[in-house]
């Protein structure tokens, strides 16, 4: 008999105060409480974390890589959104 699947969770950890939570990996757990404990036991064994988020993997909505042209390329031409687009003489100093 095939082994029944236990749900997959994605783990995000804040390593230091002031930093954002960062994806560190995945794990299997039947519910959120066990998922959080498993994340602690698996991903913070070397003092890597101060705060943990766990999210059911199937709750993540992801963009489709095949649409990356439509999704992301239009932003590439908007160079006026970057400070380097503008000329300010050196003698003005840091701005």
């Amino acid at each position: 008999m095939a082994t029944p699947n236990i749900p997959l969770w994605e783990v995000f950890i804040r390593s230091r105060n002031g930093l954002a939570h960062k994806h560190v990996g995945s794990l299997h757990a039947t519910d959120a409480t066990l998922a959080l404990q498993a994340a602690r036991d698996i991903y913070t064994r070397r003092g890597e974390g101060l705060s943990i988020w766990v999210v059911p993997s199937n709750a993540i909505t992801a963009s489709d890589p095949s649409e990356k042209g439509m999704m992301f390329e239009p932003a590439e031409s908007k160079i006026y959104r970057h400070p380097t687009f503008y000329d300010v003489p050196d003698e003005v100093g840091h701005m």
Binding site: A2, T3, P4, N5, I6, L8, V24, G25, S26, L27, H28, T30, D31, L34, I42, R45, R46, A62, D64, P65, S66
Partner: protein, 330 residues
């Protein structure tokens, strides 16, 4: 811990795919771009990686058994804590690797079931027994040393989730080889009996460790696709030579003799080793190693004995869902 020996590609059953997409895919690989889970990829790339990563994961989990055999007998509390932490790391590494394999579309349960059914391979090295405490030192020193040779290039593998898992694994494993070497050094500086124990362990593990790198390049089956896809960056023989060259001076430092009397250093500084008994390797891969049956039996027992626990947790989660649905309806 190790999968180099198990790589085989699926060049033969590759489906006819959109030639343009395949060309584009190869162009991305050639440009050193990373491939991510939802990206288009050739079916053979997916299949090769699923097999390689899951075999790597199985190796980590089965690899817990020979070392786990000595946790309860470790000769000092310091050694006991270090060994438990090391074997626990291997469990973690198996877990990271299963998760990387899962991004390719197979569940951990499917992958584990295949291993338990004897359909998926794991590294041949774990089918040898750990008979003395010196075996624990030797595994850390040589088996982990060989694993590191293989795993460092995998950190740059073209498949993003695998490369990321390997970066984490390599970072954590940095203490494993040192732990093993320290055990060997203590034995070699100890009593005559301890030194003999260390030499005996080296004698038994040396050749199986060299086999870990897989068949020689001239008979290695189509590793060209793995190289083309940047899953594999060095050949079996290249890595084996690198390992031997790194290990010989360490053995000399320990005062141990590598069980290969004809070994000599050539003009390039490489240590030339004698012929490897590939029949033994084939027998172990075919299931005839000294511990194949014990290893599979131990994993099956853990899986079967744990079934009621996993079922209970699933049943509880389902009850909770139903209760909160009822509460919401009230």
């Amino acid at each position: 811990m190790y999968t180099q020996a198990l790589n085989t590609s699926d060049g033969d059953d590759r489906h006819i795919e959109d030639a343009a997409r395949a060309t584009q895919f190869q162009a991305r690989i050639d440009a050193d771009e990373r491939i991510e889970p939802n990206d288009w990829m050739p079916a053979a790339y997916r299949k090769t990686l699923t097999r390689q990563i899951s075999q790597h994961a199985h190796s980590e989990i089965v690899g817990m058994l020979p070392e786990g055999n000595w946790i309860t007998r470790a000769p000092s509390l310091r050694r006991k804590a270090a060994l438990l932490a090391k074997v626990q790391d291997e469990c973690g590494h198996g877990l990271y690797l299963y998760a990387a394999a899962e991004t390719l579309g197979s569940s951990r349960e499917e992958l584990v079931d295949a291993m338990l059914a004897g359909k998926a391979k794991y590294s041949s090295i774990f089918n040898y027994p750990t008979l003395t405490w010196a075996d624990i030192g030797t595994i850390g020193w040589l088996v982990d040393g060989a694993a590191i040779m293989n795993q460092i290039p995998l950190c740059r593998c073209s498949y993003g989730p695998y490369a990321r898992a390997m970066i984490r694994v390599c970072k954590e494993e940095s203490f494993h080889q040192r732990q093993g070497f320290e055990i060997m050094l203590t034995l070699c500086r100890g009593t005559d009996e301890q030194k003999a124990m260390a030499q005996d362990a080296l004698n038994r593990w040396w050749w199986p460790v060299l086999m870990m790198f897989g068949p020689p390049d001239q008979v290695s089956q189509h590793s060209d696709t793995s190289t083309k896809w940047k899953i594999k960056r060095f050949s079996n023989d290249e890595l084996r030579q690198k390992f031997v060259d790194a290990t010989v001076p360490q053995a000399q430092f320990l005062g141990l003799t590598i069980p290969d009397p004809d070994m000599k250093q050539n003009a390039n500084g490489n240590w030339e080793y004698s012929a490897i008994d590939w029949d033994e390797f084939k027998q172990v891969l075919a299931g005839n190693g000294p511990c194949n049956r014990d290893r599979l039996a131990a994993r099956r027992k853990a899986h079967e004995d744990g079934a009621w626990v996993r079922e209970a947790a699933m049943a509880y989660a389902e009850k909770r869902r139903q209760r909160s649905a009822l509460q919401a309806a009230e």
